[in-house]
């Protein structure tokens, strides 16, 4: 223990003229959760595919539990589990058959295959659907089966590529709990996500990637303290009021909030204190906001803090934060204040 389970040095991958990874370095200590955070197209999936021996890197080196992913790919495959972005299960097989197939292909002893499949089906709440073809499953059920398939051989290193995308909140929480459990039992988990909250809840270390490069490598606490973990957004109705409110707030807290049309945005480590202060001073000037949103800082906020610009891709809504957290209004600056009619 203590040594690196995964070690990546100068890893790069080019597809023709496109550079998906551009000299990436990181180390994942054994028995921890490591978060690879970034927008779509940042290179997260490419990194996972190289580490799971699916892709060969164009340059650099990656080692999993002491085995080079290129020269000792066969050994690496015995030590890893992979749950990809797309539910990699056979639609014509039942859930149980899928898991037994993976058991056979990972050389699980014959006597272990059935009990292991039953155990995982139970754990992922799929026992009732276990003997139905997977093509009759809902998207969330397929994703759960996909993660279950990755766990069949009890791999010491687990790769989860956006494992909770498309899961309902209940399944997501259950998966988070499961990941914590696995890590308690000594599994190393490398997880990619677009959601800061997910990385924050699970990972002891986070690497933020953008356009194939690492732009931050830190603990979640440090990353969030760079901008504060709570974001407050005030919809002032129109721009004139927003400008006036901005001046009032700047007087009160010492710095002006970020303004986006009629919308004011503030980040803080102590959200409730700030909210009280701000609302109080606005009330004195009779500048009552039309809408008030208090939320966890999103990946987009981290990006803004790290790079000075928003993530290129529009974040899909319905992320782990729920509500407006996943879709920062900055993604569509022309659309004016969001949510005022409600």
């Amino acid at each position: 223990m203590g040594q690196a389970a995964i070690s990546v040095v100068g890893l790069s991958k080019r597809f023709g003229a496109v550079t998906a990874l551009n000299g990436v370095d990181f180390e994942v200590p054994a028995g921890t959760v490591f978060g690879l955070l970034g927008p779509n197209g940042a290179g997260k999936t490419t990194a996972i595919r190289i580490l799971t021996t699916i892709l060969r890197p164009s340059g650099g080196r990656a080692v999993v539990l002491g085995h080079d992913v290129v020269r000792e790919a066969a050994n690496v495959r015995r030590l890893i589990g992979l749950a990809g972005q797309y539910a990699a299960v056979d639609p014509n097989l039942t859930g149980r058959e899928n898991l037994r197939l993976i058991g056979r292909l990972t050389q699980l002893p014959r006597s272990r295959r059935r009990p292991r499949a039953a155990e995982l089906l139970d754990r992922f709440d799929l026992t009732e659907a276990a003997d139905r073809p997977v093509r009759t499953y809902s998207g969330g059920m397929r994703r759960r089966l996909d993660v279950a398939a990755a766990l069949v051989p009890e791999p010491p290193v687990l790769f989860l590529d956006e494992p909770t995308t498309g899961l309902d909140p209940q399944s997501r929480t259950a998966l988070w709990e499961l990941i914590r459990e696995l890590v308690r039992d000594g599994t190393t988990v490398l997880l990619t996500t677009q959601y800061l909250e997910e990385a924050d809840r699970l990972a002891s270390r986070i690497v933020v990637v953008n356009e194939g490069r690492i732009i931050a490598d830190d603990t979640p606490a440090v990353l969030k303290s760079r901008l504060g973990n709570t974001v407050i957004e005030l919809g002032m109705g129109d721009e004139a009021r927003a400008v006036r409110a901005s001046a009032v707030i700047a007087d009160r807290i010492g710095e002006p909030p970020e303004r986006d049309g009629a919308l004011l945005r503030l980040a803080s480590r102590d959200g409730s204190r700030l909210l009280l202060d701000v609302l109080h001073s606005l009330d004195v000037d009779r500048l009552v906001p039309h809408t008030v949103t208090v939320r966890e800082s999103s990946l987009d906020d981290v990006f803004l803090a790290l790079t000075g610009h928003h993530t290129r891709s529009q974040e899909p809504s319905g992320g782990p934060g729920g509500g407006p957290a996943a879709s920062g209004p900055g993604g569509t600056p022309a659309s004016g204040p969001p949510g005022s009619p409600s």
Binding site: I54, A87, D90, N92
Partner: protein, 275 residues
């Protein structure tokens, strides 16, 4: 980390010669099992690969039978001439399903998972060709029954007939490996189907499968006489109908072995590279 220790032990065991042969067979059978389940769950796959040879039997028997009959050696009925040809044609066209099946697989996330598993690199391909072999067993049995209903009879003993059937299956298996490569190379089912037909049609029709080669122009005879479909059809006819022993059986088997020897490694090469 006890888990790692156990796994490392298994990894070194994989290097022995026995394991190097056993692992691909074991993994190939696992994938074949998966493909056969799909065949059972989606019966239309089996129905359509059965209807097509049925249509061919009826068409050739009743449309061309009258014309071709007189060109046959005396004493040979067209049904008896036709059924071995239909066997071979069924095996050849059936191999197109290998390309379509693999190309379809390539588009699913399942292939990504297979690549990350400690399974033989040949297993996805051999599992597909093996499942298609099993399907061919079913289709050939059905064609035999249909042939019997139309007047086809075994003339050279049951064992010899079964030998002929095995030869058909071996040829179908070899053709499957060609189309495994096609499927890996093109990567989508529609293109696989479009690419397969122009190759298959001349192989099947410019052969002795349905008509005697002697009715073709000389330049075409040179091709038709020596290509594998003719060799196999000729060998199967000898085994089913009797007649003078020829080298056709060995030549057909040599074609099969040659095809697998070239296309199996080529297919695995594509599998390793395709993403």
């Amino acid at each position: 980390m006890t888990a790692t220790g156990a796994v490392a032990g298994a990894a070194t065991g994989a290097g022995s010669l026995g394991a190097r042969i056993a692992a691909p067979v074991r993994d190939g059978l696992a994938v074949a099992w998966r493909n056969l389940i799909a065949l059972r769950r989606v019966p239309r796959l089996l129905v359509f690969s059965t209807i097509q040879p049925l249509v061919f039997v009826l068409m050739f028997r009743y449309v061309f039978g009258g014309v071709v009959g007189p060109a046959l050696p005396p004493g040979v009925g067209y049904v008896d001439f036709l059924i071995p040809g239909i066997f071979v044609q069924t095996a050849v066209f059936g191999s197109m399903n290998t390309a379509i099946g693999l190309a379809t697989d390539m588009q699913t996330g399942l292939m990504e998972r297979f690549r990350s598993l400690p399974m033989a690199r040949s297993a996805v391909l051999s599992g597909r060709t093996t499942a298609d072999l099993a399907r061919n067993v079913f289709v050939v049995a059905l064609m035999t029954a249909v042939g019997f209903a139309l007047g086809f009879r075994i003339h050279a003993g049951v064992l010899s007939f079964l030998g002929g059937v095995l030869l058909v299956l071996a040829f179908g298996f070899a053709m499957s490996w060609i189309f495994a490569v096609v499927g890996m190379a093109v990567g989508d089912p529609e293109t696989a189907q479009a690419a397969a037909f122009p190759v298959l049609a001349p192989l099947v029709f410019a052969s002795s499968a349905f008509v005697p080669v002697s009715t073709m122009p000389g330049w075409l005879q040179a091709f038709a006489d020596n290509q594998p479909v003719s060799k196999t059809a000729e060998a199967v006819r000898v085994l089913v109908l009797g007649g003078p022993a020829t080298s056709a059986v060995w030549e057909a088997l040599a074609w099969d072995a040659g095809i697998v020897a070239v296309f199996a490694p080529l297919g695995v090469w594509f599998y390793r590279r395709a993403v």
